[in-house]
Subunit: 129 residues, 2 copies
DNA sequence: TGACAATTATGACGATCGTCGTAAAATGTC
DNA sequence: GACATTTTACGACGATCGTCATAATTGTCA
C-alpha cells in the first residue's frame, strides 16, 4: 500500500490548479493562467502555484519560463479526497455515495457497461468473512 | 426540486460535526463533545457548533441544555461535496470515482447486491442522447 | 441561600486560503 | 545599448478555520 497516508490537505483552489496540471501535463504560469483564465488574477495563479510547489504537490522546472507539473497523481489525490468524504459524510459506507453518483447523473450505455464490469470484478473479491 | 444551495462551503471540521448530528439526530454540546470525544476541546466543539448554526447548516433549540440538529440533509451535503469532487478531480466523469470506491474497499455481499440494483435501475434511465 | 456544577458567551490567536499589487529581474526587440 | 515585455519575487490583507481559555450565566441541592 501507499505510505503516503499522511494528511495532505488540498484546498479547493489548489485542486483547481492541479486539475490544469493533470490535463496539460506541463504548463508555464501564463498558460496556467489562461487555462483557468478569465476572472482570476495572474499573480493569484502564481501564488497558488507557488504554494503547491511549496507543499510538494507540484514541481517547477529550473529553466527560464518555468514549467510546472503535478507531483502527485490525479488518482492518488482523488482517492484521498474520496476516502475523506466517505468517512465524513456516510460513515465509511460506499453505497450511498455510489447511489448519488449513478442516480443523479445521466449515464451513457458505455458507462453502464463499465460500471457493471467493476461490480462483477468486485464480486469476485468479496471478502470471505 | 431543491433549489441548489449555492456556494455553501463546508469545512472539514464542520463536516465532522455534521456527521455527529446526522447520526444522533439531536445532541447537546456535551453529547456532541463526547461523540467525537477524546482529543478535542470542549469549547472547540462549541465553536464549531456555533459556526454551523451561524451558517444555517444546523439549528439550536431554545430550551436550556440546548439541543443541536442538522439543518441540511446528509444527502444534500454529500451530493454537493461529491459533485465538487467530480468536477475537480475527474473532470465530471463518474466511472473513475466509482472504480476507486469499489476497487479499493472491501465490500460485503449485501453491498454488492445493492450496487447491482443501483446499476440496473440506472440502466433503465440511460440518457436517450 | 449559598456553594458547586453545568451551560453558554465572548474573545483571542496562529495557520491557511484566496486575492492581488508592486516592483525587481530577466529576456526579447530594434 | 535602450526600451518594451515577460517572468518572478515579495509581501500584504481580509476571511475562514481550528483551537481553546476565561468569564458570565443558569441550574441544582444540601
Amino acid at each position: 500500500m501507499s505510505a503516503k497516508r499522511k494528511g495532505r490537505r488540498v484546498s479547493a483552489g489548489e485542486l483547481e490548479i492541479l486539475e490544469v496540471l493533470w490535463r496539460h501535463g506541463e504548463v508555464t504560469l501564463s498558460v496556467a493562467h489562461r487555462a483557468l483564465g478569465r476572472d482570476i488574477g495572474y499573480t493569484t495563479v502564481q501564488t497558488r502555484l507557488n504554494r503547491l510547489v511549496h507543499k510538494g504537490l507540484a514541481r517547477r522546472s529550473a529553466d527560464r519560463p518555468a514549467r510546472y507539473a503535478a507531483a502527485v497523481s490525479q488518482r492518488e489525490i482523488s482517492a484521498g479526497q474520496l476516502d475523506l468524504l466517505l468517512e465524513r459524510v456516510s460513515g465509511g459506507s460506499i453505497v450511498p455515495l455510489v447511489a448519488h453518483l449513478v442516480e443523479d447523473h445521466s449515464l451513457s450505455v458505455e458507462e453502464i457497461e463499465q460500471l457493471k464490469r467493476l461490480i462483477d470484478k468486485a464480486e469476485k473479491n468479496v471478502e470471505p468473512r
